[in-house]
Symmetry: C2
Subunit: 161 residues, 2 copies
């Protein structure tokens, strides 16, 4: 009965990995699917409560961990003390992108410019580093840190006084 190719790809991946499809897991997944933000566990929990008031924060954490482990979700650390979770919208990991992180208001902007060049450089680098350090590279992240449009102006005001 497994692998019936009935639901979305992540359901199959759950099954294949031997995990159960439950209401809380479906709910967490639907929340991730319906946002383009970079949600923390707490963010997901709050949204989940609106649909299922009896869901527990613990379950949200465990679902997010599980999804991360089976490669359906990617976990990011932007250095503000809480992890963010983002859906891998495609089993083949299309939609590769990176992040601009505002050091002041912590907002995050996705970008995917110059991906062709980036991918080429990364491949080259990965190859060299694998050989040099015998390191098996699974994935990479590029974060730009700075000030978003609004926060630049806010900073400017502070300097003015």
């Amino acid at each position: 009965m497994r692998n019936r190719m009935c639901g979305p790809w992540w359901e199959n991946r759950l099954n294949d990995a031997g995990f159960r499809l439950t209401n809380p897991r479906e709910l967490v997944m639907s929340i991730l699917r319906n946002t383009d933000k970079h949600l923390s566990a707490e963010d997901v929990y709050v949204k989940a409560l609106a649909v299922n008031p009896s869901i527990g924060l613990t379950t949200v954490y465990r679902s997010l961990d599980l999804f991360t482990q089976i490669g359906v979700v990617q976990r990011f650390d932007f250095g503000d003390g809480k992890a963010r979770y983002e859906l891998n919208r495609n089993p083949l990991s299309k939609g590769h992108h990176h992040h601009l992180v505002c050091m002041r208001c912590k907002s995050i902007i996705d970008y995917n410019d110059f991906m062709q060049e980036e991918v080429e450089l990364m491949k080259k680098t990965e190859k060299a580093l694998s050989k040099k350090h015998h390191f098996k590279i699974m994935h990479h992240t590029i974060h730009f840190y700075g000030l978003c449009n609004e926060c630049q102006h806010a900073e400017q005001k502070m300097i003015d006084y």
Copy 2:
């Protein structure tokens, strides 16, 4: 009396920013100066205790924060729940490099291969993203995640059984 250009550059920067040169701060700095590892606050604290048994962990945190703020130290988040601190060895930020992070044992390897190409791509990307998103970029990080030499073999053993 300020700005006498007597001590190392970071002492001057402390002075210029209006902060005091104290024993704990010198100790923390000397520890960072004498390692090539990526130390956590706790790591620094343990090393500091060996020299000054009355130093407090809080002071280590505050020193590291201060150094980070005045640009003498860089703080990294590799996603294992604790921040790492690394000395900027040069006021002009030479020695730019990035990291390989082992997802299993959390060890970190520095690399600076292909820096020429990387810097070019990053400059180009920064320029475009600044214009496109009105984002003022201060710095960036590139992290490769994967398995180090030892951990690949450990994983292999696990699979064998």
